[in-house]
């Protein structure tokens, strides 16, 4: 019992001694304060100068470059878009003009053709008409002539027949009047 107790006591002493050695916080020991302050200021100043003079401008420049590049690219894209839209509009204008012109030309040529056709048609019609009337006139003449010749032939035939049957000549003028009368009666149908 005593042995155990003494052992614990020794252990406690040992432990407390151990802690005592480390008891005070090393942070509160002013021995190296000046050194730490000095080295902190030195190191931090160098770090600050190198960061502010070399590294930050580089990063900043790079970020700005990227932003500018993006902006430029966007501007260019917008420009190209505008140009293409303009081109498209131009193209559409040209197309509408062309179709308008084409219809115009089509209409004009149609009109001209129609006129020409009309002119030719009327000329042809006139010619045909004149031909027809000429032909008709000829026909009428022919008919009249034929009637006359029929009359003279029938007179002659009638005179001959009468002469052969009766043996004497009849009055020429009476035969003619009779033949004309008969032919007038019958020929009316054909004229």
């Amino acid at each position: 019992m005593m042995r155990n107790l003494s052992l614990i006591l020794v252990q406690m002493l040992y432990l407390s001694d151990l802690f005592a050695a480390e008891a005070g916080m090393p942070q509160l020991d002013p021995k190296y304060w000046a050194s730490q302050a000095f080295w902190l200021i030195l190191v931090f100043s160098i770090l600050y100068i190198s960061i502010s003079k070399f590294y930050l401008p580089k990063i900043k420049k790079n970020l700005e470059d990227r932003e500018n590049k993006i902006k430029e690219d966007l501007d260019e894209a917008n420009n190209l878009k505008n140009i293409s839209e303009k081109k498209l509009k131009d193209y559409e204008n040209i197309m509408t003009n062309a179709t308008r012109e084409v219809t115009k030309i089509l209409l004009e040529s149609k009109n001209i053709l129609n006129k020409e056709i009309q002119v030719k048609k009327s000329a042809m019609e006139k010619e045909i008409e004149s031909e027809i009337s000429k032909a008709q006139r000829e026909i009428i003449n022919l008919k009249k002539e034929s009637i006359n010749s029929i009359n003279s032939i029938s007179e002659k035939i009638a005179a001959d027949i009468i002469e052969k049957i009766t043996g004497d000549k009849l009055n020429e003028s009476s035969i003619k009047a009779t033949a004309e009368e008969i032919s007038k009666k019958n020929l009316v149908k054909y004229l």
Partner: protein, 239 residues
């Protein structure tokens, strides 16, 4: 507490009777600063329109700090951007380097954080007086306060203003120290409980390491953003 002790490396340097020897604290400051410079050098070496990973990290860091400053202190704080950037990155990397095993945590020393905080305090006060002259003192007299309360409020404002460097430095130092001490305590438990019972503190240790990395980032962020807020008070008098 052994992890916080400062010891000399190399010969003793004494200038005008003051011991300015190179110590492990100085070594880790140099390591942190070198890491930052190396990272920034590598990430800005090639300027690409489409950034690679390293370049992207540095650009994100840049815009992160830039946004933090413009959100808290406005556009007038632009000239102080390099300082805040350096401060944030330095504190962040010192905290992170301190998370490595056997590494020394520079920011777990009150003298380091105090010097930074005092520098910020003095700089902000000087900037305030340069920008606004004696009108800067109106920062202690908030508007819209009843006349009866005004003396009391003014005293409180002065005290809060003067305690800024203390709160700023102690916040960072205490957080870093407490975190590392806790990790050490749990690490000690792992050893003393051995194979049988050591698993529980070990898992705690793992979880705490994650937490400490978060705290390391958060404290650097808080340090930088509080600097921005103090700068904002000096640049734009709101009262």
């Amino acid at each position: 507490m052994q992890q916080f002790t400062v010891h000399k490396i190399g010969p003793e340097i004494k200038i005008a009777g003051i011991d300015l020897s190179f110590t492990n604290a100085s070594l880790f400051m140099v390591i942190s600063a070198s890491l930052i410079c190396l990272f920034l050098f590598l990430s800005t070496k090639q300027k690409k329109i489409i950034p690679d990973k390293l370049q992207l990290i540095s650009e994100m860091l840049y815009s992160f700090v830039a946004k933090m400053i413009s959100d808290t202190a406005g556009s007038k704080a632009k000239p102080y951007f390099p300082f805040i950037f350096s401060l944030f990155v330095f504190v962040l990397i010192c905290n992170m380097v301190g998370m490595l095993p056997y590494a020394f945590t520079v920011t777990s020393h009150i003298i380091v954080t105090l010097i930074m905080a005092i520098f910020i305090f003095i700089a902000v006060t000087v900037i305030g007086f340069i920008k606004h002259g004696f009108k800067y003192l109106s920062i202690f007299v908030p508007s819209g306060v009843p006349a009866v309360l005004l003396p009391l409020i003014t005293i409180i404002e002065i005290i809060s203003y003067l305690s800024r460097p203390v709160s700023l430095s102690v916040r960072l130092f205490a957080n870093m120290m407490a975190g590392h001490t806790m990790l050490k305590v749990f690490g000690g438990f792992v050893i003393s409980l051995g194979l049988l019972g050591g698993w529980l503190p070990l898992s705690f240790s793992v979880a705490l390491t994650g937490l400490e990395i978060l705290v390391a980032f958060l404290q650097a962020y808080v340090f930088a953003i509080l600097t921005c807020i103090y700068l904002n008070d000096a640049l734009n008098l709101h009262h």
